[in-house]
Structure formats: structure tokens, C-alpha cells
Amino acid sequence: MRLIFITLLALLVAAVVGLGTTWMTTTRGTELGTLTIGAWTARPRTGTADVDPYSRATITRNGELPIGTGDGVAFTATTDDGRRPLDGRCDVVVSGVTPAARFWTLTLYDNKGHLVANSMQRYGFTSQEIVRGADGAFEIRIASRSRAGNWLPTGGIERYALMLRLYDTPVGVATRTQRDAPMPSIATVGCP
């Protein structure tokens, strides 16, 4: 009787620990092969054949298609530079310069990876449609209410993610630091 109880307990612990850690790693991601610059994180290896098993599990589970290395690289940010989660009710400013790339796009997603509905049908910017200063630097304002300049609407959702995709870029598996890839800064400038 005791033996059965102990065996069942061991198996229960095994199932909870095993499946729990799998669920955690596939939903939150791991640090394996990540490139972090400021608030931005990329996994350049997910676009190659030697992708790590955790990223593979995450990709198939979410049903996404990772961007191939010969195509470009995708950086994601869910917090600002001060590690504060991006809040759709606040004003967030993304400013500065981007790494060398033929084109880039900045897109706003909800936490399921879907675009956020808004009356302007604006879900992001491309490097060509952005309004820049004389020095080539840009400033994008992410807010729920309309703002002057490059305004990206949030629809007032609580949490969102920004994705900066660089196309035809030298940034990739060999990139290590901010010097190789100067990423724009993200700052929360005001909350109602």
C-alpha cells in the first residue's frame, strides 16, 4: 500500500515538474542563444538550421514562422529601457538610430502576437515612411491618443510587444554588442 502511494507520488512530482518546466520554457522562452541589446532581444539562430530545441518547441507550439537568416533578424521588446513593462495607456517614445539594414519595420503586437485594431489601420512603421530629423534620427510616439509626428496607436491595451525587424542586414549570429547594432532606446514618458 505504502509502495503504491510512494510510486504514485514520485510519478506525480515527475509529471508536474517535467510538463511544468516545458510549459514555462515554451511560453516564456529561454536565454539560449539570445542577443540582448538594451530592451531588445533577438534569437538569430532561430532563422538557421541549428536552432536550439527550446526555440523549435516554442515556434511549433505558437504556429509562427521564424524569419530566416538570409532574410533578416527580428528584435522584440516587452519592456522599456528601465525594465518597466510596456503599457498601452502610457506614452512611450522609441527614438534614436537602427543598425545597418536595407529596410526595417517596427510593429506593435498584443501578447498573443496579433495586431491591435485602430481607426487609422496603422500597425507599425517601415523605415521608408518614418519622419526623421535632420541628423537621420527618428522618434516614434506610442500612445493610445493621437500624437504629432510618428504616432503608433496602442488601442489602449494593457500590455504589448514591439518588434523591430531588420531586413537584408549584417546583424545576425555574429552580433554581440550595442556597437555592432545600435538599437533605438525605449522610454516611458508619461502615464495618465
Binding site: 515527475a14 518546466t21 516545458t22 538550421a49 511549433t60 504556429g63
Partner: protein
């Protein structure tokens, strides 16, 4: 007390094994992966344009709304596949994925260096069967080896401004992905030949 501790340690060790097995098995058992999601709406060995990404589009997460996207779901068991994608004004790329979404190859218009991206996709076995003296065709056509028999080819054309989306879609509409007719003829002719051999 010691027995309980032993039970928990055993459980944790077994749990680690369960974790490793489940992570490695997930790509194979996932039923909601991109290939499965695309299967009902895409044709096999033909180009299908996807709807532009907007908030109502929930087929796949993290799609770039600045791109027109077309997909060719391939099966190479009938022979090598020929892919032709015209290059749009801004930026065009072609990415190759295995059945389990491993991005094994991607090329963009600049690295292709031509007005049209032309590729031959085949399995390693089909590549080895190619006659050696066909270096003339190899010179102007890029040959890609697919690690799996089935998979996805994703063609993307950038619309740098929303107004250019129609143009980007038109570029992809002119692309083609097919197993050439003469090869299909070969494979359909092939079955009649074995019966005589069987009679002998």
C-alpha cells in the same frame, strides 16, 4: 521521512527526463504549427497568396503587416520543384522551411542578384541523381537541397508604404512554384513499365 525525501528526488529526476522528452517531441506532435495551420487554405506545389495581416487575421502570430506574403506548400516526392519569383521594387525574399518549421534557407533579391529569383528545390537524393554534365543548368539556376520531402516556401514582398501593397501583391501573383510537366509525365508513365518485368 527519508523515504519521502527519496520519493521527491526520484520524482524530480524523472521530471527532468519528462521535460527533455517533451521539449524534443513537441515539434513532432504539435498540431497547431504553421504548416498545419496553412494546410486547409493553401494548394500543394502551387503559390497561394495569404490575406494581408490585420487585426482580424489570426492564422499565424507575429506576421509583418508591411509585407505581401505568398506560400507554396511543397511535396518533392513527385520530383524537383522549380520556383520563380519576380523581384518587386522595394524588397523581396524567399524563405524555406521544413515540415517542422526549421528555416533552413533564405535568400533576398540582392543576394539573388537578378530581376527574377529562380531556384530548383530538391531532396538530397534527387540532387545526387542529377546527371554530372548538367553544369550548364547549374550555372544559371540555384539548386537548394531540402532536408525534408515536404515543407513550406514563403515568398515576401515589402510594401514600404501602405499604398504600395497592391503592387507588392501583384509581384507575388506573378510568381510560380511547380513540378515541371515533363517530370510529372515521367512519374505517371513510370507505373505502366513494371508489369512486363513482373510477367517474366
Amino acid at each position: 521521512m527519508i523515504r519521502l525525501l527519496f520519493t521527491i528526488v526520484t520524482g524530480v529526476v524523472l521530471g527532468a527526463i519528462v521535460h527533455l522528452v517533451s521539449v524534443l517531441a513537441l515539434p513532432r506532435i504539435a498540431s497547431q504549427d504553421a504548416y498545419s495551420r496553412l494546410t486547409p487554405t493553401t494548394k500543394l506545389n502551387a503559390v497561394t497568396q495569404l490575406l494581408p495581416a490585420d487585426p482580424s487575421y489570426t492564422l499565424m502570430p507575429y506576421m509583418d503587416p508591411a509585407f505581401a506574403v505568398a506560400v507554396c506548400r511543397y511535396d518533392l516526392s513527385g520530383g524537383p520543384l522549380k520556383l520563380t519569383v519576380p523581384v518587386s521594387q522595394a524588397y523581396t525574399s524567399v524563405s524555406f522551411y521544413t515540415r517542422n518549421e526549421v528555416a533552413y534557407y533564405a535568400i533576398n533579391d540582392r543576394s539573388a542578384g537578378k530581376k527574377v529569383i529562380e531556384l530548383d528545390l530538391m531532396t538530397e537524393a534527387q540532387h545526387n541523381e542529377l546527371p554530372e554534365d548538367e553544369d550548364v543548368t547549374a550555372a544559371d539556376r540555384l539548386i537548394i537541397d531540402s532536408p525534408s520531402t515536404t515543407g513550406l516556401i514563403v515568398m515576401k514582398a515589402l510594401a514600404p508604404e501602405p499604398g504600395l501593397m497592391v503592387q507588392a501583391q501583384a509581384t507575388l501573383a506573378a510568381s510560380s512554384c511547380k513540378i515541371p510537366a515533363e517530370q510529372l509525365a515521367k512519374t505517371t508513365e513510370a507505373p505502366p513499365s513494371p508489369p512486363p518485368a513482373a510477367k517474366r
